[in-house]
Symmetry: C2
């Protein structure tokens, strides 16, 4: 059997910003946590929806023609194929739920793209 | 675009115990919330893992040879094929993440089995 996980605590302990950590698997999906601050690049995932849930703090998700604001406890699903740019003015802890096939920077590999192996690494 | 969802608030407003409400879809999975108190029957899902996350309160999940206790913010994944019995001494609000194909009472249809359509109904 697996362990009980404290997502907020795992996210709190992350040292690197915008570097998701896999905390659980549910069939063909990963549950991840991340610590974010500042702006992430615009990206989209052509094939997969992406769920954001704020564990502690406030974040925004800019979409092509709108912007959503999330505070602690809020949940939002970015539909597949939708360009989005997450950002947070202050440090914010989030939980992500997405298919194992989802690359967190979307369809473009860039400097801060982390492989699944890197996301599994324990600090 | 979808709306920002407040899972804890939706769960709080539920009138019926052990009756999951679908709050979002992520590809072929549902995010659900439920208000629970007392014991749910033993069941298992042969083909699907099931994620539990406590939004507010305390719950236990009895497994074949162990028992896990979850408090607010904790997350646990019951692996597919594992018999489990969720319970809560006091009212507890939870979030569930599972494949759309998962029947919440497992492989046996029983009195408190709710169809997907019932789980979508707005109160």
């Amino acid at each position: 059997m697996g362990d009980v996980i404290e997502p907020r605590q795992v996210a709190e302990n992350l040292k690197e910003l915008w570097s998701p950590r896999i905390i659980a698997e549910v069939d063909d999906s990963f549950v991840k946590v991340a610590k974010i601050k500042g702006e992430f690049p615009w990206h989209s995932h052509e094939m997969e929806d992406e769920l954001f849930m704020v564990l502690d703090g406030e974040m925004s998700i800019e979409l092509e023609d709108s912007r959503v604001k999330l505070t602690t406890g809020d949940l939002y699903v970015v539909p597949k194929g939708t360009a989005h740019r997450p950002s947070a003015a202050e440090e914010c802890l989030i939980l992500l739920f997405e298919k194992k096939s989802t690359r967190h920077t979307g369809d473009i590999v860039q400097e801060n793209t982390r492989s699944v192996e890197q996301q599994r690494v324990q600090e």
